[in-house]
Symmetry: C2
Subunit: 219 residues, 2 copies
DNA sequence: TGGTGGATTTCGATC
DNA sequence: GATCGAAGTCCACCA
């Protein structure tokens, strides 16, 4: 990884045009050819960037980074304050816990959290327009298509609506209804769900993790 | 901006849990207290990060960065390869050109670009599920709900469909129809629009910029 | 290779 | 502070 602190002017043309007037910034060049320009504010987003694969040409104090999509990043170096290169070992992967997949897993283990008498029929139930997260039956034995999200938004309701549109034609299923389950649901998503006759439920991740599974797990 | 190259172990707990085993990485600490951890791959995303505002406590070789939302980033420094600090001037802003807001503005100025006899009723017309970008009338005086996008995709059609779903219940509006306007529209979005009876129109940004406004602007 | 859906999305505007 | 939509979103997965 090469780290350059330099006074520079930056231009990007591609999906839009963006221009940075002269100023002191960090230019980061990674082992895979990625280039990013950082200011001294904001942890996440660089001011400008070019993801790999890139073609980098350097002539005098002008860098031109281009990619096959026709995007171009042009960096004019006015004054270099620092220039350092470091050799990194291959990065060991990042381990994550608590994302949607895990939430779905917990609910599959404890379908009673969705409602009394709920039973899991199967996970990732296929439809013509994609898999439904959880297919359950309620206490009355009617089918319930469950869409699991970390955060429920309007798109989640749309997605579930599409599934239901197709599932209602499935003679195997008995009067299927939809349920959006998330740790948090936006008001507009609730509005739309209501209009579409879709139930919604807020669940607590930590609470779920502490629940007794309806069936003991194998590990 | 402080740049540390170090062999380190990182843990994040907050919206989820994430763990990085020991490895050589870049730790970036910005003037506003933002902290990010970068590997040598990928321009855009840090492996871990904490956006401002943060509380940073350092004891020996362990950094603990916490924020008011209860998130915690813990960095255990095993070996420091490099540690450098730089003073940046205040960042001059990034200028962007060609984004959706600007496109909407141009179309509001020149509604005739949408069709002969088109007139603007208002921008950001509210519905229960969000505001419609432009509400116009066509030459016949019928309402047209216009969704403006840089790039029209399936979601854009879904979004416009939702608006229409609610607008059709509005007695104020006369036989409202929808129109998707973008610099580029995906084939699948055109398909879906056609199926939904929604018109679509490709507009040229530079051409629009050169158009005579239907009403002169005040600046 | 293109489409789809998730993300510690982030970011900005608006209420 | 909450909410909502855009983003040069990025990214992984899968057909």
């Amino acid at each position: 990884m090469r780290l350059i602190i330099a006074r520079c002017v930056v231009h990007y043309t591609g999906r839009l045009s963006a221009h940075l007037p002269e100023g002191l910034r960090l230019i980061m060049v990674k082992a895979d050819g990625c280039v990013s320009v950082h200011s001294d504010v904001g942890a996440y987003k660089p001011l400008n960037w070019m993801n790999a694969p890139n073609n980098i040409t350097v002539s005098d104090d002008v860098w031109e980074i281009s990619n096959p999509k026709g995007e171009l990043l042009r960096i004019e170096l006015k004054e270099i304050v620092s220039d350092a290169d470091f050799e990194f070992d291959r990065h060991p992967g990042l381990q994550k816990d608590g994302v949607e997949a895990h939430l779905q897993e917990l609910l599959a283990d404890s379908p009673q959290a969705l409602g009394e008498g709920f039973k899991l029929i199967r996970r990732e139930h296929p439809t013509q327009v994609g898999p439904v997260d959880l297919l359950c039956t309620d206490a009355q034995g009617n089918s319930v298509a469950v869409e699991v999200k970390r955060r429920g938004e309007i798109d989640s309701v749309e997605q579930l609506s599409r599934y239901l549109e197709f599932m209602k034609d499935d003679p195997q299923l008995k009067s299927v209804r939809g349920m959006l389950v998330a740790q948090e649901i936006r008001p507009q998503a609730k509005e739309l769900a209501k209009k579409r006759g879709i139930d919604w439920l807020i669940v607590d991740y930590d609470e779920l993790r502490g629940m007794e599974p309806s069936k003991p797990r194998l590990f």
